[in-house]
Symmetry: C2
Subunit: 201 residues, 2 copies
């Protein structure tokens, strides 16, 4: 039982949350490669074997981080959309910009999210990704209703849009183009997308 004096902030029901919290910081500050279960356990104040109860192995913790990443990404996109104008072009740009911002501000996390560690097994991660993918599809469907798009298949076009922003993000994060080009790339992609999907006459 937890002893009477308030010496230990964790250890009861929130070891898992505490570990994830520490892992999130470590990921941001030192990258996924430097994330060690033993370190995290020490940082949180438990023995090195304690995390095993909550994460059967290291990969399980990384998967949990990726899963949480998709939840946060989805929230960021929905927040951006909530604050955007009603017109489709504005909503498109707001979503793209929010994605890129999230991706560049959480570069190590993004890597983890898309890394094919999601072999057969990590269904949770794929499941969590459905929310932002769905958001993209909804956005496209709205554009069709507004008459801004001729797109027949909202889901497929949504995936291509998703892929485009994700690709821009990974090219920027990988240092393959100068960061100054970022805004221009997003704008070029948005313009091309609007022109490419607009009704023909």
């Amino acid at each position: 039982m937890p002893d009477a004096n308030g010496e230990r902030p964790y250890h009861h029901g929130n070891l898992r949350a505490a570990l994830l919290d520490a892992a999130q910081r470590g990921l941001r500050e030192r990258g996924a490669d430097q994330l060690s279960l033993r370190d995290l356990a020490k940082e949180v104040g438990v023995s090195h074997a304690a995390p095993r109860r909550h994460f059967p192995d290291r990969q399980a913790l990384l998967d949990a981080l990726a899963e949480a990443g998709f939840v946060h990404l989805d929230a960021a996109l929905r927040t951006a959309l909530a604050g955007a104008d009603e017109g489709f072009p504005a909503r498109l740009r707001a979503t793209m910009t929010a994605y890129i911002r999230f991706a560049t501000e959480n570069a190590a996390l993004l890597e983890l999210m898309y890394t094919s560690k999601h072999r057969p097994g990590a269904t949770q991660v794929v499941k969590a990704a459905e929310a932002p993918f769905g958001l993209m599809a909804e956005l496209i469907a709205q554009g069709e209703e507004q008459g801004a798009l001729d797109a027949a298949d909202a889901e497929r076009i949504g995936i291509v849009l998703f892929a485009t922003v994700q690709g821009i993000a990974s090219i920027i994060n990988g240092n393959f183009v100068e960061p100054e080009l970022l805004d221009g790339l997003v704008e070029t992609a948005a313009e091309q997308f609007l022109r490419g999907a607009r009704p023909l006459t």
Copy 2:
């Protein structure tokens, strides 16, 4: 000196090449995480400290793999272009398809290539990426000359195209969409691109 009987196939000037070769196989078969310098040394038949002469640390070997990956990618794209028809739409589709094929057939390598391990320092990797990026820009420039594109800035459009295929590849490799959708996604992206960048009248 190498003793007279032909017992050792390596050890002279090609330890580096032998290590890279073994690493390439290991990467494909077990992924980058499972790549161990000690294992590679054992597989090649040298002591565990020998690789240090050629790769100062583990990251240096991973960077060398990524660098070689971009060289191979560039070759694959150029081969595809050499066999394609002259018209821009055909050349565009050939390039996109070749990229996606390379990316899905070398998923673990692709991850390594784009992983932001390329922090300040790994200039070799970024340098090696310039070839395929340049190829994309050339492709766009040809499209402009043929009158198929209105694009003002070939380099920027080329980067967006690059980002789109890379994004599709990572979404497929990450298992976020069913593989059956792949061909349709590439075709949708190609159509949108052609429509988005075509002259206005």
